[in-house]
Amino acid sequence: MKYFLILAIIILYALKSFSQGTDSTQSKTSTDSSESNAIINVISGFVKGDKEKVLKGANVVIKGTIDGATTDEKGYYEFETEEKGNVTLIFTLSDYKDKSVQIEIIPDKNMNIDVQLIKKEVSTDEILVTASSFTSGSNTAVTLTPLEIVRIPGADADLYRALTTFPGSNQVSEGSRITVRGGNPNEVLTILDQASLYNPFLFDETFNVSSYSTVNPWGLKGINFTSGGFSAKFGNVLSAVLDLKSYDMPQATGMFAWLGLANASLDGTYISKDRKYGGSFSLGKLFLEPYFAVNGKNSEYSPIPQSNQVGGTLAHKIGSTGNIKFYANYSDDKVGIYNAGPTYEGFFNSNSKNIFTNMKVMVAPSSSTLLNAGVSFSSYERGTGYGILNTKTTELYSKGRVDFTKNVTSKIDINTGIEYEYNGYKFDGTVPEFSYNLNLDAPAFEISSDESSGRAGVYIESQIKFSKKIFVIPGIRSDYQTLSENVSFDPRLSFGYMPARNNSIRGAVGIYHQNPKIDYFLRTPDNDLKPENAVHYILGYEYNNDNKLIFRVEGFYKDYSDLVLFNRRDLYYRSEGKGFAKGVDVFFKTKIANKFTGWISYSYLDSKRKQYEAQNLFPSSYDITNTMSLVGSYNLSDQIVFGATLKFSTGKPYTPVVSSVFNSKQGVYIPIYAETNSGRFPNYSRVDINAQYIFALFGRFAVAVVALNNLLNQNNIYDYTYNADYSKRSEIVTNNKRTIYMGLGLQF
């Protein structure tokens, strides 16, 4: 009984002390003068950084206590403490490494402790951006954002057109197809979530009609455009890779409608409340009647260009890190454009249908591994008709791919993967016997062919960070093509070195292969065509100050071999071609507060190939010696943005006709050509401007756009045409004369 009574009294006392805890006069805070008899010491000193720079706001504390202080504008600190004996002082400041100092506090002896803190090295993922890369995403050195894409004047919110304002790439016929560093357009591969996107264009390869891409930049969380020296992950591509990653899940629920002078679209996204399910849809239609009514027509059309597009995605989150996503897209286009050629005057008709589907799964089996798997299918049908020429091609692609990433240590990642791709090609139609004679009575062949090929590829590469300043990415891949039964081996190496903060040197060397198009195999004995080969050598320097100021200069050399070449002796295509491309790219970009963003890009290129019909090393078809782009975007206010783009390039090569010979049997003149690509079109230049205005409409977010393309109404040349005997040459000017475009978008 007695003990219980004592216990109760003690507990009550303790509880009283506990509840009065906030009012306790016993304190260990240094700034209070204690009423106790303990001895108080003063500790003071200065905290500095590099080159004696005073550090304001640095924190100093005795470990295990709250005795301490913060430095003032002079880097000076001072505090009182009752602690004595051996203690540890801890100094901290953001952006600086913590510092601990052991001291002995002797009663009644004040102490003066000065320290120097060392700045933390910024460790980011930017260092792993490889040579020749332009990127957009959250963890990379961003050089192009979706907002910038839609704001670039002249780009018409098209990702590919926006990319041509960066060095190393050019548009084909002012459209969305691009060529890179003198290579052919089919040497640029687009990858969307691991699936190959072979025909993401409307009005592709259509006479004097600019193509448009079907890729929506707003749906992309990552864009990586590499114009050379790319990873071993990518096979069967010779020049460049555009690696696109879409958002795994829509970010919010909503719809956006767009109505413009030439087009209309409706996009919607949905995400469930628990963020586990999501989906999107997209509808688009092109109609040019209002556009032509305002701007007039520069060509005669029948039918005028028209296209439709519908697509959507479904996504499901698996666990906390996994995701499965299904994507489907359909697009079609149709146009007839009048042309007066030497042997035929009439409408060049073109139509296409494109279906693309992709299913991808991403899981993280552990915290250090990632598995991505995908299956895709696409079907592309194209019809072309002009004079006697009347063809239909069908291209089928399907691909299965698995990629595995393992984070071995904090400094080493391993990536490996395997893929199989099927490529089917069907061609039916009437083809003129002589390419120069398209008359309806001209001699012609009826051709029907059906061929297919498979390609299996495997790769492994490692990302090794030797230190925060140096990384290397060695890799190797191998591909096997079933049609030619050829195996290729592609060793590749990238490296990066940061000699100082914000400065990096990047380089790459490697072997790259690409199988020739199937239609060349149809004119090759025993499918005896090797994969076309290129060796890339790239070295560059970049200064990047947190993406506010970017300066980059890069030199490259590409050595080509086994290019497809028409053999005039046996009239077959053989792997006997060769070539080279060399040059320098320069890029400068700046951002000033949130007001102005602008960049200048310049490329010098010298590219020659002995390929296809070119029997010697002649300028390649896209050997454009000097190319320059200036882009600027200015925020007049939060609601109004102005932009301007200036593009200039020296003339693109073409093969002139120097004379002709009359063929009495056919009743037409046969053109006699000069050396392949020995002529140059006049210089190309174009200025585009636009303005965007953000406002409220029916209480919703709305954006209005006005664009003036080809402001100076330059007559840039698309091609030359000739009269019947080739004695007179006429310019075919592009249809992209000075035009005005207006559009209105509404979010709801």
Binding site: L7, I10, I11, S17, Q20, G21, S27, Q251, I694, R700
Partner: protein
């Protein structure tokens, strides 16, 4: 018997000492927290970067006590928010980014340690709003981050006055074109004020900021709307708020100036 008595006595004494030590340590922690919280409030009231930095330092030192680390990190993040807002007024984008990012890192640490505290998500949402200042290109990410924080806060504490306040302020500064404006802000601020009236925080050391700020923003919203009687109501809110916190420069200089300009 003697041995038994000795053991009992030892146990009782030990128990008493432990209770006392705990109460001593808790009182130490609480006192330090309240002092630092007071200094932080004074610094934010006066938009005094030095004072806010000192208060932040105090909270960093309190971490040494290794008690309720999640709450200390919350206040460090709140200090960073104060520094970031200060930098915004001075149009120093580099510091806006620096302190906002630091604040986000600290509040995420706090959430990792205690994911059940609604005010942490409110602060996370607030810090993410600051990212519009320098990361407009990442609008999709920012929208997703703020929506997610908002949902978490609502789920944990649907009547948190600071949740309504932050959403009201966001609507106040968001152009109508983007779905904001005073018509949208006023109902949210009214909810905030109603919630503040009856709010009592579980502990004195828990965050309790925002009441006079809600009044200040309500006053500015009413001034902007300028319906009949709005100016009188606005003045009433300003007077009540200044009474509550006469040291607040936001009220005495910024809001009062707006009122004087609007009254001309």
């Amino acid at each position: 018997m003697k041995t038994k008595n000795l053991i009992m006595f030892t146990v009782i004494l030990f128990l008493a000492m432990m209770l006392n030590v705990k109460s001593y340590a808790d009182s130490d922690f609480d006192k330090a927290m309240l002092k630092a919280k007071k200094n932080l409030k004074e610094g934010m009231d006066k938009s005094d970067e030095t004072k806010i930095t000192k208060a932040r330092g105090q909270f960093e030192r309190i971490l040494q006590l290794k008690k309720d680390v999640w709450l200390v990190n919350y206040y460090i993040a709140l200090s960073d928010y104060g520094l970031s807002s200060n930098a915004m007024v001075k149009k120093n984008n580099d510091n806006v980014k620096k302190y906002t990012q630091s604040g986000i890192d600290m509040i995420n640490k706090s959430i990792d340690e205690n994911s059940e505290f609604a005010d942490s998500y409110v602060l996370l949402q607030t810090l993410n709003f600051n990212r519009w200042q320098y990361e407009q290109d990442k609008m999709q990410e920012i929208i997703a981050a703020t929506q997610s924080a908002d949902e978490s806060a609502t789920k944990l504490d649907p009547n948190n006055p600071r949740l309504f306040l932050i959403n009201g302020i966001a609507s106040f500064f968001t152009p109508e074109a983007f779905g904001g404006g005073v018509k949208v802000a006023i109902p949210k601020l009214e909810k905030s004020l109603d919630a503040f009236k009856t709010r009592k925080e579980k502990k004195e050391i828990y965050p309790d900021w925002g009441y006079e700020m809600a009044m200040g923003y309500m006053a500015m919203s009413l001034m902007k709307r300028d319906d009949e009687g709005d100016m009188t109501k606005a003045k009433q809110y300003i007077d009540d708020a200044i009474k509550m916190n006469p040291n607040s420069e936001f009220l005495t200089e910024y809001v009062m100036k707006e009122y004087k300009d609007a009254s001309k």
